[in-house]
């Protein structure tokens, strides 16, 4: 019983070690793309204007 519990804990720990960095990377990646491609700030829009059009992000 105890052995089984330890094994389950190991699996959960290993899984969270794998999932946590992926979730952080996914969120940070989305943050960067949204910042460059979707932010409504006029300054960011003007700086990234050609990039937004070339990547076909909805612009203006």
């Amino acid at each position: 019983m105890n052995e089984q519990t330890v094994k389950t804990q190991d699996v959960v720990a290993a899984s969270s070690r794998k999932v946590m960095p992926a979730v952080v990377a996914l969120l940070f990646g989305a943050f960067l793309v949204i910042g460059v491609g979707f932010a409504h700030s006029d300054t960011i829009h003007n700086a990234a204007h050609d990039s937004r059009h070339s990547f076909a992000f909805p612009c203006h």
Binding site: P21, A25, S54
Partner: protein, 242 residues
């Protein structure tokens, strides 16, 4: 694991963003600059005309439109090397962002990801982020008439999310039910329909707008293949160090 993910994405994103900036310089950017000549001409005509509604619709695109909205002129890079530099920086940040998303998928997937497998992941990224949204919202040149920005952005996110989950169902789940559900989910945003402009016939000639739509999609395909290959290659190379 954190170090491996971020090292891969930084390197792949930097090189991919830099590479696609060179491609853009000879493909999409000349069309954008050409289209802006028509857009600026149209803005001048509209500023002179008494038709306030039309003027606001088109002016909303340019710096003049932003100034009209906010009462001041927002900063923008000067034409020439400054504009190219900021476009390159924007492309690199976008490259790092998309590579982080790709590498996050690598780390969750079972099996080894190499440069070649990375290209297939990159093609999935192209399908999800570029191809599927282009059906409802074709790549737009400056000066094109469009619907309101926020509904278009919302539809873009809906389309990307539905296509990504639908593709995952098709590729990684087994059984007819998953296939049907995946296809239905991928079709959903197109059945709902993307927001369309109230009227068409913008300032830019359709030949130029059509050429831009094709150039944008072709360069996106190049970008995603390159980013997928770079991400897969560095991901494999950094394996022993993690």
């Amino acid at each position: 694991m954190f170090r491996r993910i971020f090292a891969t994405a930084l390197l792949a994103g930097f090189l991919g963003g830099l590479g696609i900036s060179i491609v853009h310089e000879f493909t999409t950017t000349p069309i954008i600059l050409h289209a802006e000549q028509f857009e600026n001409k149209s803005n001048t005509v509209d500023q002179k005309s008494s038709s306030k509604q039309n003027a606001l619709l088109i002016l909303a695109h340019g710096k003049a439109g932003n100034a009209a909205k906010n009462g001041h002129q927002a900063w923008g890079p000067a034409n020439g090397w400054e504009r190219t530099l900021f476009t390159t920086i924007a492309n690199i940040i976008t490259g790092v962002g998309f590579s982080l998303i790709l590498v996050a998928c690598f780390s969750l997937s079972e099996g080894t990801v190499t440069g070649r497998a990375g290209v297939i992941w990159g093609m999935a990224g192209f399908g999800v982020m570029s191809l599927a949204p282009a059906l409802g919202l074709p790549p737009e040149v400056p000066g094109a008439l469009t619907a309101e920005l926020v509904p278009r952005q919302s539809w873009w996110f809906l389309c990307v999310a539905a296509t990504a989950v639908g593709l995952w169902m098709l590729v990684f789940r087994k059984g007819v039910v998953w296939v049907i559900a995946g296809i239905a989910l991928m079709a959903l945003p197109h059945i709902v329909g993307a927001p369309q402009p109230a009227r068409i016939g913008g300032a830019v000639p359709p030949e130029l707008a059509g050429h831009f739509a094709a150039a944008s999609l072709v360069t996106a395909a190049i970008f995603w293949s390159l980013l997928g290959w770079l991400s897969g290659t560095f991901w494999q190379r950094f394996e022993s160090r993690s």
